[in-house]
Amino acid sequence: MKNFLYILLIGIILISCSGSPDPLYPRYTTFPDEKTVATQEISIDSAFFRYPYRVAIKDSIAVIMDLHNDNHYFYSFTYPEWTPIVSFGKRGEGPEEMLSAEMFQFCSSDSIWALDANRMQITRWSISPYEKTASRVEEIDLDKSLVRSLDFYRTDSAFLITDYLGDFRYHKVSHRGKPIKNIGEIPTEISYKQDIHPALAQAWRSFTDYNPKNGIYAIATQLGETFEIYNLKTQTHNVIYGPAGEPQFIEKGGEGFPTGIKGFVDIQVTDDYIYTVFDGMSWKERDKFYERGMAAPKGGHFLYVFDLEGNPVRKYTLDKNILGIHINEKTNTGIATCAESNNPIVTFKL
């Protein structure tokens, strides 16, 4: 009997020390190449930016999106001179004004598409550098069944829009705003009950980019360190976890509250690589800033580069925290928005 108790005790100890189940998805841990990069500010004093969040450049026009502006969401400039053209996307509740702006993309050298999640609308704006005007030329109302759309990409055939309710990963939506197909699911390794899915979706809120040349649709999580690659040409899907793993959160009353770390900030898919801005600071570390009455860093100072299959290629460490990026592989330069410097744009050499 006593021997049995000893064996039982040893068994309990061994069980309590056993590790977690095998992971479903591959992990990356390190990058084969690492570089430190110095940034340079580009002087832009024609406008005051509160939170320059996204930047994109097409031929001779650059557009910066200010997430917390007091007037307009978008500011256009000539490129590379950075001479102001016009600001547009007035913040407001009027019929042609924007309640919010999540992100935007160029659809031609002088037009952009912009997503207003609070209006559930995607609008097209035409920019005229010569007349210094911007016109709202097209408006698409997104179907209410999408509830709330936080990221999109317009392809030739449809919009790719991230899912808000946690039942799918993204939706294919027609150019008239009607859902066509629901695709994928959140690649969590934890089994959550159905009623947790909206909070799960909030925690897995992601940034996306698509390159029509290679068919790569990449998705990177705002919390945690998880990113996915959908190859829409070969119909394959890769999920890769970084060292910080999947987004962590607490669910209360259907809401997801971030715990763990702040993850990716922006993503860009080029013809050969996937570039991501990574933060990596934990919310506990951020709370220490607040305890000292200070603001926590805005953005990340890591630029991770992956190949089109998700293998880590290079890690850049910048001397500033950045938010949105625009990478030009032809000139081997990066342009980024920065909310912590006197100027909204910094550049760096890759």
Partner: protein, 76 residues
């Protein structure tokens, strides 16, 4: 001798249990009073403090149609 083995085993079990619960992350956002005062001081005029969540600051975390720096739960 046998009693000592049993006592040692129980002590070891207690130690392992204590290490397990210590290493398990708490599901509470624990902030000291100073941090809470700073949070309230930084909260915008539109903070949703009547709900069971508190969102404040300028950031890119989604919070009921706003983009905030921080989102907390359970303060009210």
């Amino acid at each position: 001798m046998k009693r000592k083995i049993i006592q040692s085993g129980i002590a070891l079990l207690c130690l392992l249990g204590g290490l397990y619960f210590y290493s398990t992350p708490s599901d509470k956002n624990i902030l000291n009073d100073l941090a809470f005062e700073n949070i309230e001081a930084l909260a915008s005029a539109e903070d949703d403090s009547n709900e069971n969540y508190l969102c404040y600051g300028w950031g890119d975390i989604e919070c009921h149609g706003r983009k905030v720096e921080r989102k907390y739960s359970g303060f009210r």
